[in-house]
Symmetry: D2
Amino acid sequence: METDDSKNMTLTDFPLHSYDKVRYADTDRQGHVNNAVFSQCFETGRVELLYDPARPLYDVGCTFVIASSKVDYRKEIVWPGTVVIGTAVTRIGTSSITFSQGLFQNDAMVASGETVIVHVDPQTSRSRPLSAETKLTLANHLRP
Amino acid sequence: METDDSKNMTLTDFPLHSYDKVRYADTDRQGHVNNAVFSQCFETGRVELLYDPARPLYDVGCTFVIASSKVDYRKEIVWPGTVVIGTAVTRIGTSSITFSQGLFQNDAMVASGETVIVHVDPQTSRSRPLSAETKLTLANHLRP
Amino acid sequence: METDDSKNMTLTDFPLHSYDKVRYADTDRQGHVNNAVFSQCFETGRVELLYDPARPLYDVGCTFVIASSKVDYRKEIVWPGTVVIGTAVTRIGTSSITFSQGLFQNDAMVASGETVIVHVDPQTSRSRPLSAETKLTLANHLRP
Amino acid sequence: METDDSKNMTLTDFPLHSYDKVRYADTDRQGHVNNAVFSQCFETGRVELLYDPARPLYDVGCTFVIASSKVDYRKEIVWPGTVVIGTAVTRIGTSSITFSQGLFQNDAMVASGETVIVHVDPQTSRSRPLSAETKLTLANHLRP
């Protein structure tokens, strides 16, 4: 399910760091945080880069949509607490971006994920090449 | 907290009926459905009227915002199952609408609520009078 | 809908302070944070006191349930950002607690709320008197 | 990202059918349903089998946890509407189950997913072999 590589990853393998605070409503009847909340946390790590109000990475009128995601779950996330989110760019395509991410609680990796995002023009529903400026910004966040 | 009136209300006291299906993720660590989901269900009953794609009740460019809400919780909502939502219009103001609503699971009322909604022009952030046509539609859903 | 008192409240009117981080998934198609998320934020302020793992306020085997809630919405909550949550105890009953709360974003109050919570024994589904120790702790968080 | 097989799948490729109703709160600021809600829908299809109150598939005291999930997103989910969820068992391991699932709105597949679930004893945090009876039930839901 996961490659040998991801098994040994730590927060230092991710150039971008963010966080989410766990909410009581995030828990489910099994007592831990529901799996769909992991998706919200991974999203936090991506959108703070992609939709940064100070420097958005999309062309005017365009948006980003998710093509695919893969998550390996290692441990449960518990309430109360926070989740630290590590994000790395691993591939910059013509109109797509691949992210490798890790979620950490109390210094332990609780999940790793890979997501492919596509830059899309909603008018045509077709992919739109990433601008040169966006590619340059993304290159700053490639896995070291 | 609740008036004697709401204590005896049944689904027949609400002209509009809708439903939501309870999701596993709606439950919290107490084993029942989290209180914030009650707000989502009450919203279902209102927005299926207010934002009905076939006949929206807002002026072009305007929207509805919530001014206040009050919920009385009687029983827990459990998974699996559905929630039936009863909605009545109880007051039609110049630019505001008051809704009385009830949530039912397995034929028992689990919560009652009252919500005041305001018709707003986002450009000016000010209230906008409801159109005559909207008032006419709302009048069809007044509590009998 | 709201009393003159709540209109002038600031964070200093609430002895307990907490926060939540706004998530992208909290927004809805109106572009702002959905109203049900306000309920999650108010819950954060209460449960960090009621279910504090270091010093829970419930008797062994008991739990807290919400009897009623009332929210006045003043402004929208936007992404990205955080919400600061102010919480005050305003009434300590035999088995119930009344909370007054405020949500703040960028130093402006976005909503105020009042919630009545009941201490319940799930075995009997009946209210259970608060312990003397719990009442003492709650008294430390009464509105000044 | 997706195999040629999944590209041509229809609801008839999934022996188990369920549904979720889209909520207004499921939408995000992009106007469509947030990606984390896809995870909630996939979960619906699985837990209605795994935690069926009439015939749960776990041993007493045990539970199911997610080991990994993979989702391919094809189209957006929109409000209002419902999502039909197709679920097939594709592999029955000693203590794990692999599910192939599809989400459909208005007869079009909006996403396909694969999830690996493990039967776990929370006391030991270790996997627990599936019972013979559970394997027999799961075998009824293998992809035809």
